[in-house]
């Protein structure tokens, strides 16, 4: 008997590649979500707890973009059937649904900032943090009221194909998620580094007062940041739901917390760091999930968080900042 390959090794390698792809696909969703946390933290220095629920709303917006639904105000005797007629199963309609959802969530993010966070700009951080928790609860319970508490199956936005060969099985959705996330990340990096408003964003995050002294409208930049972050969260929500095909109003909590961990892991306030942290966390989680410790998956992210805060609180790519009194 001649076996040129060691079968155990090949199986191991296939398994590894499979997990690598799964991990990258999960990690790119974390990365998209982590960017929102890191940008808001970079500018306003607080954790936007409601971000994970914007992610949920994004998934639902994508859902309703391709499904006909009815707006009914029963008490007013008004019933308005809405059908955006996007249907499913074509690349262009899928992209359109993604864009609609991103635009909707950008608007939502801006409204949340305007109504809930802006009036608290000069208050203690704790007040803002608690308000953010309140907004998060409001979105979740409001979502439960509007969308219903039961998980809904997420429609196929894009035509799905399974590629398999050599023991590897990859769905086109997974590749799409990785590709789309990469495009959005590069796009964001271009906005932040090359455009005028991106420069202004960096200036505001560096120093609010100095930025307004050189004529930057802080409020506008903060609104823009929230819009941008929320649009990315919406994209993350849709991409996440494509691979985990059921959505419900509380779906955002755990991915949101983990994405925050990813932002801290990469160095909070640092955009490439958030992307790196997201991908790393996705990989770590997928590999743990594939091992015999799979029941511990949910704890891993938090263990990573605690370790990073204890040993390298500035994160992998972050700079150490001294606290001035």
């Amino acid at each position: 008997m001649f076996h040129s390959d060691n079968p155990g090794l090949t199986a191991g390698l296939t398994e590894f590649l499979q997990q690598l792809i799964n991990g990258l696909s999960l990690g790119s969703v974390y990365a998209l979500l982590a960017l929102g946390y890191t940008m808001v933290y970079g500018i306003l220095r607080f954790i936007n707890f409601a971000h994970s629920d914007v992610f949920m709303v994004g998934a639902f917006a994508g859902y309703y973009a391709v499904k006909p639904f009815t707006i009914s105000l029963a008490k007013l005797g008004l019933s308005l059937p809405v059908n955006l007629h996007l249907g499913a199963h074509s690349i262009s309609s899928g992209l359109l649904a993604l864009l609609i959802s991103m635009a909707f969530c950008a608007l939502l993010g801006i409204i949340i900032e305007r109504l809930a966070y802006r009036p608290l700009r000069d208050r203690s951080k704790l007040t803002v943090l608690i308000t953010a928790i309140g907004v998060s609860l409001l979105l979740e319970s409001g979502g439960q009221l509007i969308f219903g508490a039961d998980p809904e199956p997420f429609p196929e936005l894009f035509p799905v194909r399974e590629f398999s060969g050599g023991g590897l099985s990859v769905s086109s959705n997974q590749l799409l998620v990785i590709g789309m996330a990469a495009i959005l990340l590069i796009g964001l990096q271009l906005i932040v580094l090359k455009t005028k408003i991106g420069t202004a964003m960096r200036a505001v995050s560096f120093n609010h007062q100095a930025a307004s002294l050189v004529g930057i409208n802080n409020d506008r930049i903060i609104s823009f940041t929230f819009g941008l972050g929320s649009a990315l969260a919406a994209a993350g929500g849709i991409l996440y739901s494509m691979n985990y095909p059921s959505i419900e109003p509380y779906m955002g909590i755990l991915p949101g917390l983990k994405a925050f961990v990813a932002a801290v892991l990469g160095g909070i306030g640092n955009i490439p760091g958030a992307a790196l942290g997201g991908v790393l966390l996705g990989l770590i989680e997928t590999f743990v999930n594939g091992s015999r410790y799979s029941t511990w998956t949910d704890a891993i992210a938090f263990a990573v968080l605690i370790l990073i805060l204890l040993f390298k609180p500035a994160g992998l790519l972050g700079k150490v900042q001294l606290e001035k009194v």
């Binding site: 220095r45 607080f46 954790i47 809930a116 009036p119 608290l120 208050r123 203690s124 951080k125 704790l126 007040t127 943090l129 608690i130 308000t131 928790i133 309140g134 907004v135 998060s136 609860l137 409001l138 979740e140 319970s141 409001g142 439960q144 009221l145 909590i253 917390l257 925050f260 961990v261 801290v264 029941t295 511990w296 949910d298 704890a299 992210a301 938090f302 263990a303 968080l305 605690i306 805060l309 204890l310 609180p313 009194v325």
Partner: protein, 309 residues
């Protein structure tokens, strides 16, 4: 004051059989929430730290004490049914509660010692993370029922136990904060840097507050487990911690009477809102936001005791 309250609790315990079961049920929940809120107030209110993992410590206490009464109880009292021998059973229950509190305090020390060097948001997210880790750990301990939890816990909790613990908890927290040593908590709250410059060991104060808070959360967990008779890891999640935090905020951070009042109101509120149960959480979260925008010092704080941090 303490004696008077204990006397009142004794009388309440005496009459507990005569109160109708629904009222007794609500009162028990009120009492447990008072313990949780007052103990969290020591950490979040007086010491100015922000912990989002209180339910995790409650879980530790609940599991420890339930495991003792379930597994050890029959061995200690082999010839009696728990319900038959009144005093012996209550002695075991009391011991189990204290053990639950101590293990929770130990967990509090384990969590607090590394993480209390962090501030504000980071501390909030780390305590939240620890709360989740505790939940996952209980899901993975098969001997404690794993994800299904423990069932058939003996029904030992009654109004007397709950309110006696609540009075004790309130007394300890108030006495601690008003002692000479306890001024340190307020100093850490008001200005950590200044407190440190004055020579206070701020990290130690924070850990003490955390450990005492965790101890009482453990007691509350034990009482809760022996009241609901079945516990599972899901019941002690993030949302439960948030509920307790909201009580502290509504009452006014570092305002014990306010926090007690808030615990009472917030436990009764869901009962009143039963007719509109569908909108309950929406109303609740909306009120929280409006409260933060209009009265960040808490609903029941009329006098500004300390400057805004």
């Amino acid at each position: 004051m303490l004696l008077g309250s204990l006397l009142a609790v004794g009388v309440l315990g005496w009459f507990s059989d005569k109160i109708n079961p629904y009222h007794a049920d609500v009162l028990t929940k009120v009492g447990i929430n008072i313990i949780l809120a007052v103990s969290l107030n020591l950490v979040n209110g007086y010491t100015g730290q922000f912990s989002l993992g209180h339910a995790g410590f409650m879980a530790v206490g609940a599991y420890t004490s339930a495991a003792i009464t379930l597994f050890l109880g029959p061995k200690i009292l082999p010839h009696h049914d728990m319900a038959d021998s009144y005093w012996a059973a209550y002695a075991v229950f009391g011991g189990a509660l204290v053990a639950g509190g101590l293990v929770a305090a130990l967990a509090g020390w384990g969590v607090g010692a590394p993480s209390l060097r962090l501030k504000g948001d980071y501390l909030a997210i780390v305590t939240l993370g620890f709360g989740e880790i505790i939940r996952v750990i209980f899901c993975n301990i098969h001997f404690l029922g794993g994800a299904l939890g423990l069932n058939g816990i003996p029904a030992c909790t009654n109004l007397f136990w709950v309110f006696a613990t609540a009075v004790l908890c309130t007394y300890v927290v108030v006495a601690m904060v008003h002692s000479t040593y306890g001024r340190g908590f307020l100093a850490v709250h008001d200005d950590e840097v200044a407190a440190e410059a004055m020579g206070l060991n701020t990290t130690r104060y924070k850990i003490v507050a955390f450990v005492v808070g965790a101890f009482f959360a453990g007691l509350a967990g034990g009482l809760y487990g022996h009241y609901t008779l079945s516990i599972d890891p899901k019941g002690f999640g993030f949302m439960h911690s948030i509920d307790i935090v909201v009580m502290v905020i509504l009452g006014g951070m570092g305002n014990t009477p306010g926090v007690i009042l808030a615990a009472v109101v917030l436990t009764l509120l869901p009962e009143w809102l039963r007719p509109v149960a569908q909108y309950r959480m929406v109303i609740y979260s909306f009120l929280l936001i409006v409260l933060m925008l209009t009265r960040p010092q808490g609903l029941f704080t009329w006098r500004r005791k300390w400057k805004q941090v």
